[in-house]
């Protein structure tokens, strides 16, 4: 009896904690706080080097703001579908959860696809990782972000497939919530990148 209870103490996703926040959720928040500094350093490097490229192409030569706006909107929409996925699993509606999880992953993939298309175009226009400081800082910043998105998509698809084995249920919906936190974070970072890199007008 006691043994069963003890097992549940460990396995329950609602074990008692000193702060009241479950361990995994607190861990995800701390990780995201740490990730803020990662992107902070990358964005700072970009900003500090803005306008310092000695040769082109320069941002205004390659950026297609309308296109990037659309892909940004796609990523934003994926945050909405993520919220819907979480709401579904929290009320026990697993089929809906799967639908919205898949939608989120697909929208994420569309975003990544848009990035790939964009970078290929830039590459053809002569902007590579090593062309100039703009290429260096731009690709590394957006590349780190894209990698974060890709990892997020992997997690979403994992949740999706695990749910078929009965491993994602209303009882452990916090797992979905935590992946959602990560996904929203990645989206917010993109808002910042899009604003700072694409929208804020710069010189050459």
């Amino acid at each position: 009896m006691q043994e069963q209870a003890a097992i549940h103490v460990f396995e329950s996703e609602h074990e008692a904690t000193s702060t009241g926040l479950p361990n995994v959720k607190l861990a995800m928040w701390l990780f995201l706080a740490s990730d803020v500094l990662l992107f902070g350093a990358l964005i700072t490097s970009y900003v500090v080097y803005r306008g310092r490229s000695v040769v082109g192409p320069y941002p205004n030569d390659v950026f297609d703001i309308p296109f990037t706006s659309v892909s940004s909107f796609v990523l934003l929409a994926s945050s909405l579908t993520m919220v819907l996925a979480l709401a579904s699993v929290q009320r026990g509606d697993l089929p809906r959860m799967r639908l919205w999880l898949l939608a989120t992953a697909l929208l994420g993939l569309a975003f990544v696809g848009g990035q790939v298309y964009e970078f290929t175009t830039f590459y053809e226009e002569g902007l590579t990782l090593t062309t100039n400081v703009f290429g260096t800082t731009f690709y590394v910043l957006t590349g780190f972000h894209g990698t974060h998105v890709a990892i997020g998509i992997l997690m979403l698809l994992s949740l999706f497939s695990l749910s078929f084995g009965g491993r994602i249920t209303q009882r452990n919906s916090m797992t979905v919530e935590i992946v959602g936190l990560y996904w929203h974070f990645v989206d917010i970072v993109w808002i910042v990148i899009f604003t700072v890199v694409y929208l804020i007008p710069t010189g050459p």
Partner: protein, 622 residues
């Protein structure tokens, strides 16, 4: 325990995902997720690196003992001093601190393990493999040779592979520490025993908490810098390329934005250890507990605002230098507060001086010197003379060796009985302390003079005419005394571990929860998680207050260690796992792959991902 909470199919998952079962022997250590075993692994590994880093130091001192020597050529010398720095910072002091944090935090806060035991194991294996990776560079094209601080453009333009190994190795170690930081922070915040509010936590736990936040916020910055360095070397990007319009100084900003919080990461755990030892051997509580805690927090915060003091001579201009000169001067204040509170702890105490106490007092004495030379650095124009000379080398060795290492040795002597069930030999311990104290001061004291009188850092040799010979020779003699002292410690350990385990729960009459359980503790730490009613809970169970400030022992029968040798009925512990090692191995292969072959990198990535997936999906219980 599944960190992603995925319900199991009742513990019958067979095949690949079966959990390991060894509880003793080699494999039990490889698959352990027990914080105590992991702490011991950290400690032993870090100490092994200490011997290696110390040997590198002896080589440096031999080369510099006389002018115009060529015992070590410039290329070898540059590798040795670089590896000495990398080893001592990343492979010795940080993991030694991690050893104490891992072993003690759950015990001190009344928990059975950390929040994420497998993640804890991952941190250890990643650290070990990072160390192996960096050291393997000696055989694979040259060790890092650009200084532990790896300034661009020199680090980028160096034609050997050394600085590539540096970047990747430190990235690995950085992931290990970041993951550990999150783990320990969650543990301290979330898993305290009932009644243990934050202000009833031992100071060591508080300092550890601050350190985890420092790690979590500073490591990402150096991660970015290391990627930038790696990309510049490996892919020809232009992060530090002045010809392309970039700024080599960006590296310095990013490095020191990490580097300065890093030095507080290196010192705060040792300060926490000293804050536990002094009250025990003064038989009084820590003086000004809240002030010691708050000063630690203040140091953590302000520590993010002083980084340019490593760059006063870079040419950022008088305004920047002034701003950071002032912030650096300010950080001396909370540091001083700690020193005074330690003195206050000893004041009017009933002082005895077993070896742990000697090292704790030694810490205070040596740290004061290092702190004062630090204050002289904050006087910016004076730093124009001091920077990049042996005066700086003197400063940081006083705080990191005289400070951190002395504190960590104190901790070893103090907690050895708890961890291993035996006390280290007192006589040998005292000789170790005095020999090390004298040797240490002989080694680094003269460096103050050498620096002010013209000896720059990182030079393979110096000409006779500079008049630096005498103190360099003295310094070398001192270094060998330190080596002898360390040897004595190793002999002490060997002798001690042969003795049978026969130790009380509380041999020092101490104050914190770990002394309530057996020595060594059972795997489940406590038979019953203690309920905490006050700061220094263990002390209050032994002594009761009869008048303000006056205590007498609790009458017999009521107390002391409430452990019985029971077998931990009904406590279920997290099962061991293969996957932390597997995932870490994947990362190691990935690292070699980035240097040598993209196929290998691919294999490494696959192994790592497979390890992580298996980890997420393996059953929680057998």
């Amino acid at each position: 325990m599944a960190s992603v909470s995925v319900p199991t199919t009742g513990g019958r998952a067979g095949g690949l995902l079966r959990r390991p079962t060894a509880t003793t022997g080699f494999w039990s250590w490889v698959t352990t997720v027990d914080h105590k075993k992991i702490g011991i692994l950290y400690g032993v590994t870090a100490f092994a690196f200490f011997i290696v880093g110390g040997t590198e130091a002896l080589l440096i001192r031999l080369q510099l003992a006389q002018p115009d020597q060529a015992l070590l050529s410039p290329s070898v010398y540059n590798e040795i001093f670089t590896m000495h720095g990398i080893t001592m910072v990343f492979l010795v002091v940080m993991p030694l601190s991690a050893a104490f944090i891992n072993y003690l935090i759950p015990l001190m806060i009344g928990a059975r393990d950390v929040a994420f035991p497998r993640l804890n194991a991952l941190s250890y294996w990643l650290f070990l493999f990072a160390g192996i990776f960096i050291y393997s560079s000696w055989f694979l094209g040259g060790a890092p040779n650009g200084g532990w601080f790896g300034y661009a453009p020199n680090a980028v333009l160096d034609p050997t592979r050394g600085m590539t190994f540096y970047a990747i190795g430190l990235l690995m170690a950085g992931v290990a520490s970041t993951v550990s930081a999150i783990n320990i922070a969650v543990t301290i915040l979330n898993m305290r025993a009932p009644g243990m509010t934050l202000f009833r936590m031992p100071v060591f736990a508080w300092m550890s908490l601050v350190v985890q936040f420092l790690l979590a916020f500073s490591l990402p910055i150096i991660t970015v810098a290391l990627f930038q360095l790696l990309f510049d070397k490996r892919f020809g990007t232009h992060f530090f390329d002045s010809v392309a319009g970039a700024d080599p100084v960006l590296w310095q900003h990013l490095f020191w934005l990490f580097g300065h919080p890093e030095v507080y990461i290196l010192i705060l755990p040792a300060m926490g250890i000293v804050s536990e030892i002094l009250p025990t051997f003064a038989r009084k509580p820590l003086f000004g507990y809240q002030f010691v805690v708050f000063s630690g927090i203040a140091i953590g915060f302000i520590g993010f605002g002083v980084w340019v003091h490593h760059m006063y001579a870079v040419g950022l201009g008088p305004i920047a230098n002034t701003a950071f000169g002032i912030s650096t001067i300010i950080i001396a204040v909370p540091t001083g507060v700690k020193i005074f509170n330690w003195l206050g702890t000893m004041w009017k105490g009933d002082l005895t001086f077993p070896t742990p106490m000697l090292f704790a007092i030694g810490f205070v004495a040596m740290f004061v010197i290092g702190g004062l030379s630090g204050v002289t650095h904050s006087v910016v124009p004076a730093d124009y003379q001091q920077t990049d000379t042996y005066y700086i080398v003197a400063h940081f060795h006083y705080v990191l060796f005289g400070g951190a290492i002395f504190g960590l040795f104190g901790g070893m002597y103090y907690w050895w009985p708890k961890v291993f069930g035996r006390k280290l030999n007192e006589g040998l311990g005292k000789v170790h302390f005095w020999l090390m104290l004298i040797g240490f001061n002989l080694t680094f004291g003269p460096m103050h003079v050498l620096g002010l009188q013209g000896m720059p850092r990182r030079i393979q040799t110096y000409p006779e005419e500079l008049g630096l010979t005498f103190w360099n020779l003295v310094s070398t003699v001192g270094a060998f005394m330190i080596a002898l002292a360390v040897l004595l410690f190793l002999i002490n350990v060997a002798m001690t571990q042969r003795k049978p385990k026969a130790m009380d729960a509380d041999p020092w009459d101490a104050r914190t929860l770990e002394w309530l359980t057996t020595s060594p503790p059972p795997e489940h730490n406590f038979d019953e998680i203690p309920t905490v009613h006050a700061l220094d809970e263990a002390w209050h169970r032994k002594y009761v207050e009869t008048a303000p400030g006056r205590v007498v022992p609790v009458p017999a029968g009521g107390s002391g260690a409430d452990e019985a040798a029971s077998a931990g009925h009904g406590v279920h512990l997290p099962a061991p796992s293969y996957y932390p090692v597997v995932a870490s191995l994947g990362v190691l292969l990935l690292g070699y792959g980035v240097v040598f072959s993209w196929w290998l990198a691919g294999v490494g990535a696959v192994v790592m991902l497979a390890g992580l997936y298996a980890w997420a999906l393996e059953p929680s219980v057998e």
